[in-house]
Symmetry: C2
Subunit: 195 residues, 2 copies
């Protein structure tokens, strides 16, 4: 019973994320979401009290996918380059495996009311800190200050996240090749970075 | 007279771009734009028949800033690395010098109706082609295929454009240092890229 019950919110979230991608968050309403979820509006309201709550549910789940077990998984890798390689391919895999949710995060997070946005921003900061820490470890004792580590971390996020504007996982560059390309550019770039 | 007249649309565009950044395109209306431009609503309608037209005006002007003289300026540089260096610092300078317009382009372009969006997309494609051509020239006869050049070009755009989500030009990394950092990462990354 429990499993069956908890599948419905996920189904609503998936349908809503696809609608947000297609028409934008603001222009989507609860009627659209109910229709796309093949449920009555009352059925949707049984699980979510508002559209904001649905958006929050989608983004919070996606950030949990990104964060869950990340630190223990990273501990399995001994050296900086392997950790960075793992981070990039994991980021790209989660993105391509959850396109609607990932695009919703990048496009619509700013639509969330402050109280909801705060919990997402906290999770995003946690992810940022984990990635920055790995990059810092890789740079070792090279004289790179905190502001430069921050910038390098966001340059990596830039390469990984900007793909929402151009990348088609079904196109001629498969996700593994894209991950490898980002890794090569970033590792060689950072390796040769002398502030 | 002509000069004075043509300043008003620019003033409206600047005020509107700031509002779009603050509240989002969809939630901003012509009343807000008139108030922020310190004009009557009739005054705004004298220059623009709709909010879509204002958004198109802002984005089209910004893309013109990016494209105007770009090719002849690039011709002044003889080698690939100098051309790429120039492209990056020009991109970052235009971004930091026109924050409201640049953020509007990255955030709100998808709100434009198709007929308006088409002219912006054409300009964006032209810019993409110029940058891809420079990267292709830099890579020379290395065995990199078109799909890989496309990917590398968008990785560069990713690093340059993602800054809208984190970068403060008045923070501890000045624009020149950011440009230099992107250049170092990209050049070393691409230089060592072996498909």
């Amino acid at each position: 019973m429990e499993t069956k019950k908890s599948k419905k919110p996920l189904k609503i979230g998936k349908a809503a994320a696809r609608l947000f991608n297609k028409s934008g968050y603001i222009e989507t309403n609860m009627d659209h979401i109910a229709a796309a979820s093949k449920m009555s509006k009352g059925g949707v309201y049984h699980y979510f009290s508002s559209k904001d709550e649905i958006l929050h549910f989608i983004l919070s789940n996606y950030m949990d996918l990104i964060l869950d077990h990340l630190e223990s998984e990273l501990d399995e890798f001994k050296d900086g380059p392997s950790k960075i390689k793992y981070l990039i391919s994991r980021h790209i895999d989660l993105y391509t495996g959850n396109l609607a949710e990932a695009k919703t995060l990048l496009h619509e997070a700013h639509c969330l009311p402050a109280k909801y946005y705060k919990t997402i921003a906290t999770k995003e900061r946690k992810y940022y800190r984990i990635v920055a820490e790995v990059i810092k470890g890789f740079l070792g004792d090279r004289a790179v200050d905190e502001a430069q580590i921050t910038s390098l971390t966001f340059l990596l996020f830039g390469m990984c996240n900007w793909i929402y504007s151009w990348y088609d996982p079904k196109g001629s560059v498969p996700p593994e090749e894209l991950s490898e390309m980002i890794l090569t550019v970033f590792l060689n770039g950072v390796n040769n970075y002398r502030p």
